[in-house]
Symmetry: C2
Subunit: 220 residues, 2 copies
DNA sequence: AAAAAAATTTAGATTAACCTAAAAATATAT
DNA sequence: ATATATTTTTAGGTTAATCTAAATTTTTTT
């Protein structure tokens, strides 16, 4: 039997919330993320456990089984490939694609995903810098730093975002901070930890701590 | 409020069954097409009427309202555009795309459809020769002939199919009958109405009445 | 180690989309 | 014009995914 739209969303969210160590996810955390009530989550957890997609013991939180992990990663693969399509082929902005990809990720055809992947040239990262799992389900999170960890004088490359909200992405657009751009920390204000940064050895601007906290970068 | 996947399918099917004159569609015909029971159809008709998408009087069949027609045509537009995408960009065969397009047609984003349309170069016809409604909802069915109406000696162009079943399309592939190809009727067997036809002034072959009945062609 | 607080589950409803069986309306045949 | 057959609707259920309110379990605080 097939997994429903709703089931796939639960698995994807459990995957996201359980982190790289795959620790237990609580009922309340899921209620928050799915915008439902805890009681509804409990019902769904019983069903997912029944189908062998999660490990679930009452009151103890949940983890994905191997089979659940496989489903979750496939949904993530589809989400990110569709986002690449929307940005690279249809010309959407990176701030516009998430909601559409939330729908497209549930279209059920392996054949479609593999052809889409090939059409896009087997991209490794989505428009937000998130890694795309391969067809076998291997997903390797590159280990980037958060910009707040970078020292004055260091030059780093912008590789991703932690916040995917359109308003944050639009803010980056206005600041000229795009995926792959060079960032040099010129100065950090002691008072509010805001920073003066130079983008692409070019223009200089101030960014708040809030922004720094959500930028993933790579040392070179 | 938005229309559900199921509601959209009903509207699309009512559109298809009511023909170009937009005549009444019966409950049983809808039950047949939706693979549900008549009682379920009645339930849905009450709901669609409630929403102002159909004209419905008990026992009298249904017709689309203007608003229902608009929704139906938009779904058809999306279906056909996605089919073009799947064939032209992803390299699927025309026999493989219908079921995937059945899912994609319900992705709800006007922005997406318009960008997809532009990306595909505003195609006028889908891979089966069916016309694609424009962004304003204008859908003009070209008036083609059925191959059975064509006389011996006539040369016509293949413009579409009435049967969209994968098995029929694959049969045409094997016979080398593709959209746009030239067909000349060489001979018609009185006994079973099978025909000997020449494709692209090239190879000759026999086709059954069953095949002729499902080929749409244009006189030149 | 109680008591209090927080998290989670259970109980009992609701809504959309389906179902079967029975009743009612319409169409067809004698 | 009746009787018969067909079509359609109504009545009463089911399942998935949600809800609120109440009960239970776990965690935290005193
Ligand atoms: Mn996304
Ligand atoms: Mn993304
Ligand atoms: Mn189709
Ligand atoms: Mn088609």
């Amino acid at each position: 039997m097939q997994n429903s739209f709703t089931e796939e969303n639960y698995l994807k969210i459990i995957h996201a919330l359980s982190g790289r160590e795959g620790h237990e996810v609580s009922t309340n955390a899921l209620a928050e993320s799915t915008s439902t009530r805890a009681a509804s989550v409990t019902d769904m957890l019983r069903k997912l456990a029944e189908k062998g997609l999660i490990h679930y013991k009452k009151y103890q939180g949940v983890r994905l089984t191997e089979s659940g992990e496989k489903v979750a990663i496939n949904v993530i693969r589809k989400h990110r490939l569709w986002e690449v399509f929307l940005v690279e082929k249809l010309g959407f902005g990176w701030d516009e694609v998430h909601d559409i990809a939330e729908e497209l990720e549930h279209i059920p055809s392996d054949h479609l995903v593999e052809r889409l992947d090939a059409f896009l040239g087997h991209p490794r990262f989505d428009p937000h810098g998130d890694p795309i799992p391969d067809a076998k389900g291997n997903l390797t999170e590159p280990d980037y730093f958060i910009l707040t960890e970078v020292q004055i004088g260091e030059k780093v490359r912008m590789m991703g975002v932690l916040d995917h909200a359109p308003s944050f992405l639009q803010h980056l657009d206005r600041a000229g901070i795009t995926l792959g751009c060079l960032i040099e920390i010129k100065e950090i204000n002691e008072y509010d930890k805001s920073a003066s940064v130079q983008i692409n050895e070019n223009h200089t601007l101030f960014i708040s701590l809030e922004v720094s906290k959500n930028l993933l970068v790579q040392r070179r």
